[in-house]
């Protein structure tokens, strides 16, 4: 059963607590809410690749052990890629936080119930795959406590009410990527120029 907290409220709380930490959002309503809660260059909005948000977050966490990485996933999305929990449980990057906005429905496609509406337990799945720091939360206070874990990986199921999204993120995928890479100081960002070798050397 979902709690009183809406997905937007949970998303806004995460953005408020995130500082300049990068956030990867699953496509559809999770990404829409992240944009509406606080657009920032450190937000990576996916427009496709349903199920892969936690995998993208895992790769980023492995590439950048110096930064915390937050993933905002959906229950329907994660159910497409449950193997990701096994891989996270295997590699255990301490800087990865996965929050599943579990509204127990495919909200972006019209509200069809997902298996979590009938008892599928994503937190138990994560735990069984070797992720030790897990929680299921229903209120902002519980979410705040769950996010306050020093050593991850952390897996949080936020049982949330569906809330109608208020806005959509930018549609230009390359813009989203370049802005994101630049914000996390990736020198490969094409928004930065680069020095040429010294011709005198």
């Amino acid at each position: 059963m979902t709690g009183p907290m809406t997905r937007f409220e949970a998303t806004r709380l995460i953005v408020e607590l995130a500082g300049d930490v990068p956030i990867i959002a699953s496509l559809g309503h999770p990404a829409y809410d992240l944009f509406a809660a606080g657009d920032r260059p450190q937000n990576f909005y996916t427009w496709g690749s349903m199920g892969l948000a936690s995998s993208v977050g895992l790769g980023l966490a492995l590439a950048r052990p110096d930064v915390r990485v937050i993933v905002i996933d959906g229950d329907g999305s994660l159910l497409m890629n449950l193997g990701s929990l096994a891989t996270i449980g295997l590699l255990r990057p301490s800087n990865l936080v996965v929050v599943v906005m579990d509204n127990e429905e495919y909200a972006t496609t019209g509200g069809q119930p997902t298996p979590t509406a009938y008892g599928a337990d994503l937190e138990a799945t994560a735990r069984a795959m070797g992720i030790a720091a897990t929680a299921t939360v229903r209120t902002p206070e519980e979410l705040m406590d769950a996010l306050d874990v020093a050593l991850g990986p952390t897996f949080i199921v936020a049982k949330v009410q569906e809330s109608a999204p208020m806005a959509k993120p930018p549609l230009d995928c390359v813009f989203i990527k370049q802005r994101f890479m630049s914000a996390i100081h990736n020198p490969e960002s094409a928004m930065a120029g680069r020095p040429l070798p010294d011709p005198s050397s």
């Binding site: 690749s49 936690s54 995998s55 993208v56 790769g59 995928c173 390359v174």
Partner: protein, 177 residues
């Protein structure tokens, strides 16, 4: 000591020379030689096992966003498992991944279940706009893989390098001590 086939060592050299130090993989039989060669001779390359090829591409995308040059190593059948990741993440976001594809279903195949996808792989890459090249011999592997990677990371376009069975299991397989 197990001998490393020439082509497998070449794949490792090519990946390394392209600047890739992260290989996300779903194993297959020929690729086991490459994995072993990485472990033994390229200790600075991180090998990351994925449970499914599509997941491997997601992890690779995150690695790239974080500043790495990722390689995904998989069997051709796994391209079928990965099309949504390639077409809705890598391509529209211009995220470069070097794909090293161990071919099934081509000349020398014994398993009919591998044939339709194996036959289709090049056509699929052409349809979705993924440049691809093919390793023609064990001696050719290092340079073909290196150039595929150099192109991928240079122009920020995911690029595939195919390893035919003729090279990985057939008469072209040169064994070095």
């Amino acid at each position: 000591m197990t001998t490393t086939p020439n082509w497998a060592l070449g794949v490792c050299s090519g990946v390394h020379a392209a600047g890739s130090r992260d290989v996300v993989y779903v194993p297959d039989n020929p690729l086991s030689h490459v994995l072993r060669a990485f472990e033994q001779q390229f200790r600075d390359v991180r090998l990351l096992l994925a449970t499914r090829e599509e997941e491997a591409f997601g992890i690779a995308a995150g690695l790239y966003l974080g500043g790495r040059r990722p390689t995904v190593m998989l069997q051709s059948s796994g391209i079928g498992n990965s099309l949504n990741a390639i077409t809705s993440l890598l391509l529209p976001y211009q995220i470069p991944v070097l794909m090293v594809v161990s071919m099934r279903g081509d000349s020398g195949e014994w398993n009919a279940a591998q044939v339709p996808m194996g036959r289709a792989v090049r056509g699929i890459f052409d349809s979705i706009g993924v440049p691809h090249s093919t390793v023609e011999s064990g001696d050719d592997a290092a340079e073909t893989v290196r150039l595929a990677g150099r192109t991928a990371f240079g122009i920020r376009t995911s690029t595939a390098c195919l390893l035919p069975r003729r090279v990985t299991t057939g008469s072209e397989r040169g064994l070095t001590p």
